[in-house]
Amino acid sequence: MSDAVNHSRRSFLEKTAAVGAITIAPGIMLHQVASAKPDDQPVTDAVRWGMLINTNKCEDGCTDCVDACNAEHGLVGNNRPETDTQYIRKVTLREKQTGHELSLPLMCQHCETAPCVDVCPTGASFKRKDGIALVDKHICIGCRYCMMACPFKARSFVHEQVRNQTLSAPRGKGTVESCTMCVHRVDKAQVPACVEACTQGEHHAFIFGDLNDPNSEISQELAKHGGKQIRADLKLNTGVRYQGI
């Protein structure tokens, strides 16, 4: 009846999860995401979450970020690559004139003026105030117009029934989905799963942080060495930036 509900088993689980996160990723949490937002407070536009990816540090053939993402969101394929969901994928680029090859992870770019949000008839595609683009699957009718509009092919349609979903990544047949920038982790002051995996694998290709905070690592690095947007010509002001392309 009161807020002091007995949640012994539940809170035990939460504690183990939290401990896990700390031991898995020491350091990252401490200096990148300064403080967790209180659970009862809404997100604000004081922060804008973003990522900077240094393609020079991204190894060709390494799929640490992809694997971590699939595990985090319970993305199990059905051996049908044309219809199986991918939130993040490794793309290999080969420059036609020079033959120079590079590899980079590509996912939802979390545009400031996102085409998916503009075209969605029900408002299921939306931007959180902190800059994360999401699909509200409760009101998604599965029309796929956002997939037509996305310049990055970042979205997947759930083509078949899903069971055994993870707690933090509800997903089901008939709706559209894409990278959530691990919003459930970000709200707990953790970094997205892909970033964590890349850092753990000692590649350090990702920097995650607040683009609005001039003192954050990502803003400092962007100020120092710059970062490009994919399809910058569309003036979408993407939240994911790349170095080395």
Binding site: M1, V5, G172
Partner: protein, 159 residues
């Protein structure tokens, strides 16, 4: 007393005429397993929850989804954690079974639940992660053939 009793009888009689099979063995009464432990109380009074749980969940849904508010009191995951637990034999009901806490009532009251198309139907520790079974689709030609040759509609249900 009689004044209050009479209209009720009328309503019951009217309903009985509308639904001649209601109350017979066709639809089993819901079996509700209360969460174990005497000190366990729901986040709101029980009768309130019976009537209004959908409103609490709906409100929390929009708060969490759009504003990032992640308080646990009306969190859907907390409902599942408490209410969907294994029985004495250690068996836990999935949403495909009508012993699932949510389904047992919803089936009785004939209200479709939309939640578990996307949300996990059991606490995470009871979910076995394995590849979902691959059931090959029946082709449309087969379907049409079946339709034309038999009167019975094809089931094709994967449950």
């Amino acid at each position: 007393m009689i004044k209050r009793f009479l209209p009720n009888t009328f309503i019951v009689a009217a309903l009985a005429m509308l639904f001649p099979f209601a109350g017979t063995a066709d639809v089993p009464l819901p079996v509700i397993n209360e969460p174990e432990g005497e000190d366990v109380e729901c986040v709101e009074p029980e009768d309130d929850m019976t009537r209004n749980h959908m409103n609490y969940i709906l409100h929390q849904r929009d708060e969490t989804m759009h504003r990032g508010i992640r308080t646990s009191r009306h969190s859907f995951a907390e409902c599942i954690d408490c209410h969907v637990q294994p029985d004495e034999q250690g068996n836990i009901a999935s949403i495909d079974s009508n012993e699932h806490f949510c389904r047992t009532c919803h089936e009785y009251s004939a209200v479709t639940i939309d939640c578990f198309d996307c949300h996990a139907d059991r606490p995470q520790e009871f979910i076995e992660r394995e590849k979902p079974a691959d059931h090959p689709p029946v082709s449309l030609q087969q379907q049409v053939h079946q339709l034309l040759s038999a009167t019975e509609p094809t089931a094709g249900d994967s449950k």
